[in-house]
């Protein structure tokens, strides 16, 4: 048990000393994941709104596919992205493999279905309330989708934060396409995996603490958003 407390103390020391390796790794993690989540929102939110608010042939199948893709195993996503980005793959000429861009692509593939599926549910619930009023006012399809996205904005922010949580914590996808190269593609989760296997537990645990703190911060943000939405009767 002494060993554990000693490691924890050294990990705290790394965080408090603002260790440059630690900062670099956390910074890259945030850059990759925030970019991936932003791209996922640009694709996933309109997709979710369209499936949630419109009736079209194959809609049920689309919902089943979206919901299934929500649970995509990160390593499978990593493998698919690897095949696309590797020299022989369709995106090979871009030479993105083992770069942060490759990690962003992999995480985008991972998170977009989650955001689309959750926002579909959110938008559909909102639409159930608005549908007759929209019909009555003669609201066109584009205005409908835009209005639903705007009116569900608080719930959709929660959806985006859920996407962030999934992306920042996954290791399987980024380690395959990123390669965990020191100072290039090393993010929190891949570093934890590597350093633990090397027995370098201080850095691993320090990053673990940062990841946990991020999880707490994200959940705190969700709660605060919910509270303010409820106060304004926007929830």
């Amino acid at each position: 048990m002494d060993g554990f407390w000693q490691v924890l103390g050294e990990a705290a020391g790394l965080i408090l000393a603002w260790d440059s390796d630690l900062i670099e790794i956390v910074g890259l993690s945030l850059r990759v994941t925030l970019t991936a989540v932003a791209i996922s929102c640009v694709i996933g939110l309109p997709l979710g709104a369209a499936v949630g608010a419109f009736r079209f042939p194959g809609r049920t199948a689309a919902i089943v596919v979206l919901n299934s893709l929500m649970g995509l195993p990160p390593v499978v996503v990593g493998l698919m992205a690897y095949l696309m980005l590797s020299a022989a793959g369709p995106l090979g000429p871009l030479q993105l493999l083992y770069t942060p861009a490759a990690m962003i692509i992999a995480q985008t593939i991972l998170v977009t279905p989650l955001i689309a599926a959750l926002s579909r549910q959110v938008v559909e619930d909102c639409y159930r309330e608005y549908a007759e009023q929209f019909d009555s006012l003669g609201v066109g399809p584009l205005d409908r989708a835009a209005a639903l996205l705007w009116d569900a904005r608080y719930s959709l922010l929660t959806v985006a934060l859920a996407g962030f949580g999934r992306a920042v914590a996954e290791v399987g996808a980024v380690i395959i396409v990123g390669g965990n190269i020191n100072h290039v593609t090393r993010v929190m989760t891949t570093t934890i995996a590597l350093e633990t296997s090397k027995g370098n537990l201080e850095l691993a645990l320090a990053l673990g603490v940062v990841l946990l703190a991020l999880a707490v911060a994200v959940n705190g943000a969700v709660m605060a958003l919910r509270a303010s939405a409820v106060r304004m009767a926007y929830a």
Binding site: D135, S136, L137, G138, G140, A147, M232, A233
Partner: protein, 262 residues
């Protein structure tokens, strides 16, 4: 098809009773779950007239309103708007206020703006109508408040002025004051009366006979999805001819199936 054919203006009330119908329904039927809920209704709504629709719960009042507004498709029969089948463009000449106001998760003013913006009104015209509606509703102080934190009466007032800001020729109201206090009810009734004075035809579903007298020119009484009696509102309320209307006005439960002849 049962004949419940009634010309709304049969007793020849004054004013625009002879004008061609703005909105007509012919042989309107609506089925759901294997049941006929609206059964062969013929009705004419004339410009500027106020028509009250009454009847017990389940008589088909709300369904009739939704059919006339084109929110649901009739199983049989048709709705004519100015002589032509009702379509989306026709619906833009109508507006509806629901029993529970449906307000967007935005400010009071943004709710008005949305309704006007989706019609593609140019900026200056839109702002003028917004200002007029804010004044009419006396919600000016609350313009930037989230609409959904307003009181029930204020919310319904906003829903009514939002509907009227679209300048409809017909305004449908589905029990708009069912859960409101007398003060709020009065405010809604005044808005409706003002709209009528400016020439808007009113179709109002209500359970309140006092409101029917205050706001109604014509009255249609429904039972079992059919029109069992129609005529001048005051006359019908004073001397109902059909058993269903008589029973309802006396507060009795009327359980017999409707007869084809009122």
């Amino acid at each position: 098809m049962p004949e419940a054919a009634f010309d709304m203006a049969a007793p020849a009330p004054p004013m625009t009773a002879d004008a061609p119908a703005l909105l007509s329904a012919r042989g309107l039927c609506f089925d759901a779950g294997g049941k006929r809920l609206v059964d062969g209704i013929d009705i004419d709504i004339r410009p500027g007239r106020r028509t009250v629709v009454m009847g017990a719960n389940g008589a088909g009042k709300s369904l009739l309103l939704r059919l006339l507004h084109g929110l649901i498709r009739p199983t049989a029969g048709e709705v004519l708007w100015q002589g032509r089948p009702l379509d989306r463009d026709g619906r833009l000449g109508q507006a509806m206020v629901f029993q529970r106001p449906v307000l967007l998760r935005r400010s009071v003013l943004a709710n008005l703006r949305f309704a006007l913006a989706v019609r593609g009104l140019p900026g200056p015209e839109r702002r003028a109508r917004e200002a007029e509606a804010m004044e009419r509703s006396r919600l000016g102080d609350l313009a930037n408040r989230p609409a959904r934190v307003l009181s029930g009466g204020e919310q319904q007032r906003l829903a009514v002025v939002r509907a009227l800001a679209c300048r409809p020729r017909v305004l449908f109201l589905d029990e708009p004051t069912a859960s409101l206090d007398p003060g709020s009810t009065h405010a809604i009734e005044r808005l409706v009366a003002d709209a009528h004075e400016s020439g808007v035809a009113i179709v109002l579903v209500t359970h309140d006979t006092g409101q029917a007298r205050r706001l109604g020119d014509d009255l249609v009484f429904l039972h079992g999805g059919r029109v069992v009696e129609a005529g001048h509102a005051a006359n019908l309320l004073d001397a109902p001819r059909s058993e269903a209307a008589r029973a309802w006005l006396q507060g009795r439960l009327y359980l017999e199936s409707p007869s084809p002849e009122a």
